[in-house]
């Protein structure tokens, strides 16, 4: 068997980076002078990179993952040469094309065509080289009829398409991609992911910074996990994605627990919430497995007999979108009658189609039955927070029922 010599594409050795973040501006001379008199340094130090070393070989699709503020973006920008390392060295072998943001240097006053050339020049391509790619760029962006129009007349979607189109036609040896590429509408996201797949097959060296473990598992060959500006782990894409979830999930549990513990349930209209529990598989938890049923149990105390009423539950996701509204009353048979003392209601969510996200529950009680007008007597938001984990494929959709995919050849 022929031995393939692995060549290094990027070598990062013991890189440190510290920023001085100016306090209250400090950009003008007056403030500087004031700072001198106050013996105030005028800045605080922030070190996003604390001794990072790793090597990326040619042809690897390398993922860099970590939570917000772990130093991912700083690392990417340092690799791209935008920031200089305070200590350590970064060796790059080949032409590096960074896409930290799409459409860098786009100017609204210029036409689409002129912007293509300007953007190309910023990426290091001559007019001749751009001219050769031009038709493909326009075709991919589907903007034939608009290239002679000023960019300011483009919709934001058109601008993104043009920018992305330039990005994918730019032929560098090493691509640095930030996850910001994968924003936009779902059709565009799909285009990004399709492009990642194509990149992986093409054998080019790619560095991808992302939060999305699905992308890591699907496209990366190797990955690195950053935490507090240090390399926590380097390994195969699967290892790192698992490690990330392992660290991230307890975090969700901790965050939910802290928030839930802080929650004080007020007494309204003679009603007091004693507890709100979420139970999955006989265990009370706030981090739920996807696809499996769970139960929301509301325990409350009333200081008097109220009689017929209703209890409503709303579940909103992290973007404050109402995902589920349910409750007693309405078309349900089991009418609620609020008696004096302790009672509890269980909502059994049989089909768990919640996707991977963090949710909170809003709760309300009303007095009166469906025949009379109802009066709201109790209302509280975020009575409990919980998270769903374990949606592996495309967790960014609003809901996520279990889907089986069958592929048939020929006519079915």
């Amino acid at each position: 068997m022929k031995k393939v010599k692995t060549e290094t594409a990027i070598e990062v050795r013991n890189v440190f980076k510290t920023f001085k973040i100016p306090l209250d501006g400090g950009r003008n001379i007056k403030q500087r002078i004031v700072q001198i008199f106050k013996k105030n340094k005028g800045y605080r130090e922030f070190s996003p990179l604390n001794g990072i070393s790793f090597t990326i070989n040619k042809g690897e699709f390398f993922g860099i993952v970590g939570r917000n503020g772990s130093g991912k973006s700083t690392l990417l920008k340092t690799m791209a040469g935008i920031y200089s390392a305070d200590k350590g060295s970064i060796k790059v072998n080949g032409k590096l094309v960074p896409f930290i943001e799409l459409g860098v240097g786009f100017n609204g006053e210029l036409t689409g065509r002129e912007n293509v050339y300007l953007n190309g020049a910023l990426l290091g391509f001559s007019r001749d080289e751009i001219a050769n790619m031009y038709d493909e760029i326009v075709e991919f962006a589907e903007l034939h009829d608009f290239m002679e129009e000023q960019l300011k007349n483009y919709s934001s979607g058109m601008q993104v398409r043009l920018a992305f189109s330039i990005a994918i036609q730019a032929k560098g040896d090493i691509l640095l991609l930030d996850e910001v590429l994968a924003v936009g509408d779902s059709a565009f996201q799909q285009k990004c992911y399709d492009y990642f797949g194509k990149l992986k097959r093409s054998g080019r060296t790619v560095v991808l910074v992302t939060h999305n473990m699905t992308a890591v598992e699907q496209y990366c060959s190797k990955a690195l996990l950053l935490e507090n500006g240090k390399v926590l782990a380097i390994g195969t894409n699967i290892q790192i994605a698992e490690k990330y979830r392992e660290i991230f999930i307890p975090d969700a549990a901790k965050a939910n627990a802290t928030d839930n513990a802080k929650k004080v349930h007020r007494t309204q209209g003679g009603l007091k919430i004693e507890a709100v529990d979420i139970v999955q598989g006989d265990v009370s938890t706030t981090v739920l497995r996807a696809f499996e049923p769970f139960t929301i149990r509301v325990t409350f105390r009333s200081d008097k007999k109220i009689g017929p009423g209703a209890c409503g539950v709303n579940i909103v996701n992290s973007r404050n979108v109402l995902v589920l509204a349910t409750g007693t009353g309405g078309r349900y048979d089991d009418e609620l009658s609020i008696k004096e003392g302790l009672s509890s209601i269980e909502f059994i969510v049989k089909q768990n189609i919640f996707t991977e996200d963090n949710y909170s529950i809003n709760l309300a009680f009303a007095r009166g039955d469906k025949n009379s007008s109802q009066e709201l007597i109790y209302q509280e938001t975020e009575v409990i927070k919980f998270s769903i984990r374990g949606v592996v494929s495309r967790p960014h959709s609003l809901v996520h029922p279990e889907v089986d995919v069958a592929i048939y050849k020929g006519k079915t």
Binding site: K77, I82, Y83, P98, I100, A121, L122, G124
Partner: protein, 270 residues
């Protein structure tokens, strides 16, 4: 950074594209467009002619005074515009610097080059007036080219320094505005240097050591009239004529070192 890299292929491409963009955008929204580069000095000349020649009668001792004045003002305005563009170049492209790595000096050069192009167009108008006024041009008129380059070198050196300082202290732009206003009157542009020389010979000499003044007086000498008093004709010891060049060299060295040192952190500070 190696010196040979300063204008390597990639940097040349980028510079050309940025200059092209600047030029395109310059008169973008105006109906007459590039014509303004020609019209502006033309209108300026009619104002100068009316005010100084017809009404005030300043500069009676200098032949072709309105053209003499026009040339001085155009060179001054070039210096002002180039340094102002240069000063703002880095901060203006801040968004770009944070997203992509490219040689920072390119944006300073591109900012000043568009002023240089504008100056060339303006000089064509001056040339037309020179011919209309019946000035007989000799081959020595070609000295205007090294003179313009000298002025450009000075403006560029100052731009490098100021653009880097501007990243940290945004007040620089305002300070430079005030400084330029003072410098305008300290430079023999609207008044003949003889007015100063008649009061104090020393002050006149000091004023002429200013590279901008030296260039303007020399340019007038080679293009318009030998009535223009140059540094060379004024000082006894001809070694003093090197003074403006020494000033430019010192500014250039300081500016380059400072720019190089601080450009590493532009992306963080801007």
């Amino acid at each position: 950074m190696k010196l040979s890299n300063i204008f390597n292929r990639r940097n040349r491409i980028l510079l050309a594209e940025l200059v092209r963009t600047d030029f395109k955008l310059r008169y973008q929204a105006s109906t007459l467009g590039y014509l303004w580069s020609i019209l502006n000095p033309l209108l300026l000349f009619s104002i100068l002619y009316t005010v100084f020649d017809l009404f005030l009668g300043i500069g009676k001792g200098i032949e072709h005074y309105p053209v003499y004045l026009l040339l001085g003002i155009i060179l001054w305005r070039f210096f002002m515009e180039a340094t102002n563009n240069g000063l703002r170049a880095i901060v203006q492209r801040g968004g770009l610097l944070r997203k992509i790595n490219f040689p920072k000096y390119i944006v300073v050069i591109s900012g000043t080059i568009s002023s240089l192009i504008n100056l060339s167009l303006n000089l064509l108008v001056v040339l037309a007036f020179i011919l209309i006024n019946g000035v007989s041009l000799s081959w020595s008129a070609l000295f205007i080219i090294p003179l313009v380059l000298e002025l450009y070198a000075f403006a560029l050196a100052i731009s490098f320094f100021l653009s880097a300082v501007n990243v940290k202290f945004r007040d620089v732009g305002y300070l430079w505005d005030v400084f330029l206003q003072a410098a305008f009157y300290a430079t023999p542009i609207i008044y003949p240097i003889t007015m100063i020389a008649s009061k104090s010979d020393l002050i006149a000499k000091i004023l002429l050591i200013n590279p901008v003044a030296q260039v303007i007086q020399d340019a007038r000498y080679v293009l318009v009239t030998h009535d223009s008093i140059t540094l060379f004709s004024m000082v006894g010891n001809k070694l003093y004529t090197l003074a403006p060049f020494i000033i430019i060299a010192v500014v250039a060295v300081v500016a380059t070192l400072y720019f190089k040192k601080s450009s590493v952190k532009f992306a963080e500070h801007v």
